[in-house]
Amino acid sequence: MLKEIIPIKLFYELDKHMDIEELYELRFRIGCPVKAWGKSGTFFVKEVIVEREMITAVVERATYNSIYAFNHQIKQGFIACKAGYRIGIGGEAVVEDGAIKTIKNISSLVIRIPHSVSGCADKIIGSICDEKNIVKNALIISPPACGKTTMLRDLARQLSSRKNVLIIDEKNEISASVDGIPRLDIGSAEALINLPRKFGLEAVIRNMSPDVIITDEIYDDEDICEIATALKSGVSVITSIHSNCQKFDKMLAKKLGIFDVFVTLGREPVGSVLSLSVAD
């Protein structure tokens, strides 16, 4: 799939330097060499200098030459590709009537490649789901690129053998579905793709009657309200948030008192569990 999006020359250069399967992230910036981050570390692909045409081609391929189908995402600064890659976009925002219409003159891209790490949630699953199969509400906390989504995916996979798990996959990162079929292992969990949480979890709960909802990256009060609604309905929620792990407890714990389990992740190595605390 990556081969279909990035320039073929870049793909072969990456293949020479590293195992493509272990690639986490690619960064494009006009005039600079492509920066790759993988399991073996970070390096610059000096043979490939990014040009505007290259960025345009990547965007066109990632959107299947159908910008109109992705413009709602482009406005928010990303493209969620079919295969679960998330492409972050840097450029010039076009603002009309106080709202972003689109992003033009795109000058940088960050392609994030999702991975399935079976068993990465082994350390925390016991604290989230007890012997009686009661699932606690859990929040996974870390700065970006520490494996929150990978952790949620493995939790979905493991919990789906015991409970009805529904994934609200706003950016198609957890299941990486293509034509509605998950490409990454989420067990027997069901996935609702590209559904913004703000459209309401209430209807989803009524229609799908899940035991557990797993959703990625909550940001604001609106998201927290939606999650509180789900909890009122008797559904357990497992989600993640971007935050500085050390400062998190003081800043947000009070506000996010709806959660029972807090897990913080680190980057060295990616996905390492730094702390696990269970609320009284």
């Binding site: 299947y64 030459n65 159908s66 910008i67 109109y68 189908a69 219409k101």
Partner: protein, 150 residues
Amino acid sequence: MLLSAYIGLSFKRFYKKRFELITDLRELCENLKARINFSHELLPTVLKEYNAKTKELSCILKFLAESERNKDDLIQLFDEKHIRSEKEMLVKFFSRLGKSDIESEIEGIEALLLKLQALERSAEADVRQKGDLYFKLGIMAGIALAVIII
């Protein structure tokens, strides 16, 4: 006589094929409009799934769905003799298709649709008037030639 009748028939066929191709293009535009507007369907999917009635459009769609649609390729693609006079308009439309937001896409499709509807009407009139005329002229020329020779 047979030869001149055949030439006349070829002219008639040309107008008929042109009419069929323009009708097919118009129906494709209607399909594009509905599927892009309603479900934001991806362009390659719409192009692949459209059931073209003419061989010419079927080849064009296959290429459009699979290629990167750069302008040089499109100019060659729309060099098909039945729609050569509409080449510039079609190249412009297909090279812009899929590159803007939904409102602009729909506006573009609707504009082309209007042009195609007008073209379709004139192509239909051409089949009736010019097509039949050339066919009859061919037969008459053949008869005249036969009379002269005899």
